[in-house]
Amino acid sequence: MNVVEASGLGKRYGRTWALRECTLEIPAGRVAALVGPNGAGKSTLLNLAVGLTAPSAGEVTVLGHLRAGSPAALDGIAFVAQDTPLYKTLSVADMIYVTRSLNRRFDQPYAQARLEDLGIPPKRKAGKLSGGQQAQLALTLALARRPRLLVLDEPVAALDPIARHDFMATVLAAAAADGVSVLLSSHVLTELERVASYLVLMSRGQVLLAGEVDDLLATHGRASLEELALHYLRETTPEVTR
């Protein structure tokens, strides 16, 4: 099963194409990294996959041919958007209540145990938490929904190195223990080295390269993901797909 399948997918804002001619199959059971500079179209692709945005061209399906944004798709995908938006005036306990109410599944014991481990007090207002704690809260809420696919948009961009490490550790633990497929975007290459098993390289609204990290490294004779990505991103011509 593919967690995300796109064919000829495009999104236009006014006269600018944020994403063009995107054809892609991301298999299940991976931690897939969407890599590219700012403005490459990563957020646009993720917003299309979670159904927040409607495509201008082509189509995108998720979790084995479910229409993006359909009830079944929303049920199976948890999304943590950029800057981890939370209701700042609600307490942590209220955020748990709201998320539980809005979803068919919610693992309350898991959420409470994790927040206790993280030392996040349930009565604290979400807006009063540190950036790292807000990100952890958003991630905990997403994972407690027991999604089949976890989508993270630039999850660690605003975090300090320790918070980054803790956040990614949580993601990896969920991927390993519960078999959650993960799709995340980042422009921080070094973070992805340890975590990504599938890579989608993007630039200027187009997919340059996509595949299993191990295969890509072997095929292109590169030692690290970072080296591979930099090599491709320096190529100015977007035609070099595969």
């Binding site: 929303l74 068919r104 958003a138 929904r145 223990a177």
Partner: protein, 358 residues
């Protein structure tokens, strides 16, 4: 924590999932909007206490004035004066009370979507299993019902407070009186909650379009102002075809719309008689009439002194008016179109939520 395997969940996911029950939104709405709702409760509660106290003294003054006999005695004139004096304050209060539906509707309605779009939390809310258009529908309908219930209850109190000014026969007693179709018409049992609902719906749509809380509130207040002025100044008098009578005695509680005059069965002139005609046929002491004409603009009195002096010369005055008996039909007509407008605006808002390209 253990979790079901990927395989098990795939099987479960093949059928369309049972939707998350609507009732779950109740607690969500309460937690997200309790501050706004508490604000409405405090505002309406405080004004209600004031209306209750003032209403009691208005009723007290009116009861005393109508119980007094004979009406022409000095004591009764004093009591009438006391009652008429209460209108000074309550008339101004009526103007400010018209702001209530606008303020309540705009401050509750505009942030529902604007705040989510402004802070980015729509990316959280619209990707939960509940589904975004169901989320929007549940929120807007629930908040609308709560506001209509609260302002509906409040409008009953308002109607009680202003009832003495609208009683039939006030003018005959020299008491301030006016048509229920004019004075405080929009503060009554149907129109008050209906206007609140309309501004709420305007606010929700403005929030969806403008995406920022403060500009959306300002925009909905501006739209309300335009709509309220249009309704009072242009629409309301046409809700039902006005009645026309050739009799000079129209009930004091009727809403007088205009006069025209005929002579010998042919149209002579509209409105007040021209000055040359009055000079020719009518001679009045300088200030004619009594206190009956305290109603402000328009034809001032039911028994027009012009009609009396011009009638012997072949002129007939035709008055077009809306009788006070049309109060409830008018309430339901205004409430009806406001409800239809609100439903349309809320539907448009939900449609935009559903198709919005982020």
């Amino acid at each position: 924590m253990t979790a079901p395997t990927v395989t098990a969940r795939r099987d479960e996911g093949d059928a369309a999932p049972r939707p998350v029950p609507w009732r779950r939104m109740a607690g969500v709405i309460w937690r997200q909007h309790r501050i706004a709702l508490a604000g409405v409760a405090v505002l309406v509660g405080a004004v209600a206490v004031w209306v209750w106290i003032e209403g009691a003294s208005v009723h007290h003054a009116w009861d005393a004035a109508i119980a007094c006999h004979p009406a022409s005695s000095a004591a009764c004139q004093d009591l009438a004066g006391t009652f008429n004096g209460t209108w000074d304050q309550m008339g101004y209060a009526a103007i400010f009370l018209q702001l209530l539906p606008a303020l309540i509707g705009a401050f509750v309605g505009a942030p529902v979507l604007a705040r989510e779009l402004e802070t980015g939390t729509f990316r959280y809310a619209w990707t939960q299993g509940f589904g975004r258009w169901r989320w929007a529908l549940a929120k807007l309908v629930t908040l609308a019902v709560v506001l209509v219930a609260a302002t509906g209850a409040f409008s009953v109190l308002l109607s009680w407070c202003y009832q003495p000014y609208l009683a039939a026969g006030n003018q005959a007693r020299g008491l301030y009186g006016n048509s229920p179709l004019v004075t405080v018409f929009s503060l009554r049992e149907v129109t008050f909650p209906a206007w609140t609902l309309a501004v709420f719906a305007i606010g929700a749509l403005a929030g969806m379009l403008i995406r920022r809380v403060v500009p959306a509130i300002v925009a909905s207040l501006a739209v309300y102002a335009g709509l309220a002025i249009a309704a009072a100044g242009l629409l309301r008098e046409h809700y039902l075809t006005p009645l026309v009578t050739g009799s000079p005695n129209v009930a004091g509680t009727a809403w007088l719309l205009g006069q025209s005059w005929t002579k010998g069965g042919r149209f002579a002139f509209a409105g007040n008689p021209p000055l040359n005609l009055l000079n020719q046929f009518c001679s009045f002491p300088q200030s004619p009439g009594g206190k009956g004409g305290a109603s402000g603009g328009g034809p001032s009195s039911s028994a027009s002194p012009f009609a009396q002096c011009l009638a012997p010369h072949g002129y007939t005055m035709w008055t077009s008016y809306q009788p006070a008996s049309r109060f409830w039909p008018f309430q339901w007509i205004e409430g009806g179109w406001l409800l239809a407008l609100s439903a349309l605006l809320i539907a448009a808002t939900i449609w935009l939520v559903r198709r919005r390209a982020a």
